[in-house]
């Protein structure tokens, strides 16, 4: 079968696919920012409320999750005989904005993902781990503007265990890509074509005790 590909349309479809998945993530992020229980970072020294990330705040969050019987998501990574590596504990996952990655690196006990004994199960967006939390980053990570004591941006780090939240997909509205070629009813001159996507989803926290929004500011 001969297929005459349209390079412009192909590029547009690629962008649309990225847009669709990012939109899905952003909707979930916004739901978590609206609803998840909060813990303020208080162990930092920047004089704000919340403070910047600290080891005690991450430990507090881990203890709160464990106290609520939340289950960790990833298994431990055993130590190996490689210079500069360190074993990584069984872990919850934390999702954060790129703006506070430098503060994360400064936290006592931080292990960069490059120092993991094995990169078999490392995600592309993973920055590293502290204690029993492995951190994922995104420039789209949740930010509450000006919301600290001193009016600085507050970064929402969602620390989650297994089954804490879910997405309910609607059978009749699963994600679909739409293409309308030139020459539709309102396009007798065959000038316009349309590429689009649509989907519907309901993100929902299933157990609020298994996810916490660890709020922090930048140092």
């Amino acid at each position: 079968m001969f297929i005459n590909q349209d390079p412009v349309l192909n590029q547009t479809v690629s962008l649309l696919a990225q847009s669709m998945r990012e939109t899905e993530d952003e909707l979930i992020r916004n739901m978590l920012a609206s609803t998840a229980s909060v813990i303020n970072c208080t162990g930092g020294v920047n004089g704000d409320n919340p403070t910047e990330l600290s080891r005690s705040d991450i430990d507090t969050t881990v203890l709160a999750l464990l106290g609520n019987d939340a289950m960790m998501i990833s298994d431990n990574i055993e130590g190996t005989l490689k210079f500069g590596t360190a074993p990584v504990r069984e872990a919850f996952w934390g999702m954060m904005n790129t703006a506070v990655l430098d503060d994360l690196e400064a936290v006592t006990g931080f292990i960069s993902q490059a120092q993991y004994p094995s990169n078999m199960n490392v995600l592309n967006a993973e920055w590293g781990s502290v204690g029993n939390v492995r951190f994922l980053y995104s420039s789209r990570g949740s930010v509450t503007p000006n919301a600290s004591l001193n009016g600085n941006n507050v970064y929402n780090v969602f620390c989650t265990g297994q089954e804490a939240y879910a997405i309910v997909e609607l059978t009749t509205a699963t994600a679909s890509f739409i293409y309308t070629p030139p020459g539709g009813p309102t396009d007798p001159l065959r000038r316009l074509q349309l590429g689009a996507y649509k989907f519907a989803q309901v993100p929902r926290i299933l157990n609020d005790a298994w996810i916490f929004n660890l709020r922090c500011t930048h140092s």
């Binding site: 909707l27 609206s34 704000d48 409320n49 004591l149 929402n156 309901v202």
Partner: protein, 349 residues
Amino acid sequence: MPFAEHFMLSGKISAPATLPGSLSINCGFLPTKVRIINETQWGQTGTGNLNIQEIKWDSTNPTQTNSLYINAAGTALLPSALTSNGISLYNGAGASPQQLSLGPKITGSTYAKATGRFTVSSTASLYAGATVLMTGFTVDKQLGGMLFTVNSIVSSTVFDIANSGNWLNTASFTGGAQTFYVQLVTVPSLYYPQNSQIVYISAANPAVITTSTNMGLTVGQQVRLYVPRAFGMTQANSQTAIISAVSGNQITLGGSISLDSSAFTAFSWPAATGVPYTPATIVPIGSGPTPTTFLPSTQYYYDTVDDAVNNQAFQGFIIGPSLLQTAAAGTVGVTASDVLSWTAWRGDV
């Protein structure tokens, strides 16, 4: 060049029964032109009040809303131009990844803890029911970074928050002269129901929770309380209960799962020296067990996904409180429950 977009949408809506207020119109697009006719007041003359007859807004001059009102004697139509709290666009998508969109900073200079009245440089952009972010307190640092619902606009420089008498007027707060900043939340968190900060829990059966903002929850919804040690009433921490009554920013937890806090340690705020701290919060967790009525014995139905969060984002426009205020002899406005017919256009090329 973007695709051409041409939309037009129209509808009818009633002015709020309680004025001043605001109305949000969901168009599904961001209009470039809005026209509103006050159907109730159209042609009414000699009411003694300056009733708005027609409102016009155009994106070429987005900060100004023009209206025509009839004079008190009913003898002439006169023009009026507003530069705040008139028609404004509402883009619920916000500015990713920011959770909220905020208006400009308004500087505050003092507040009275007995009445919850805050004095700022201007209340022109604020209105009753608005959510504001308050930051930068130089004395009562506990309040920095909190969201509050405005209870009423007392004057051009003073507004108050609800139910402050039972929590703000304590030894934990100093009140009086201090610098702080207020910002109007123009686009709130997108999802309903939301968590909120607890400012007071009564020692009573059932417990009554006062929150800093009006959460908009309803009877029957289930909530969980998070009360850190700094707030004293540790017995309430992690408790869940079902709402039996809602009044503004107060929630009574006397549903089929209730909370009796009468023997709990008193709820108390940390002092300013206790900053930084984790706030006490209330988190909606669903509808709770619902008794079924079609079975002979009492059975309970429970589905975690019930009352799932609802994305409230939309695109359209807001009719602000400077338009939706009570018309009087010296005030241009509308009358409560006036019927307003609106038309919104979008015309990009």
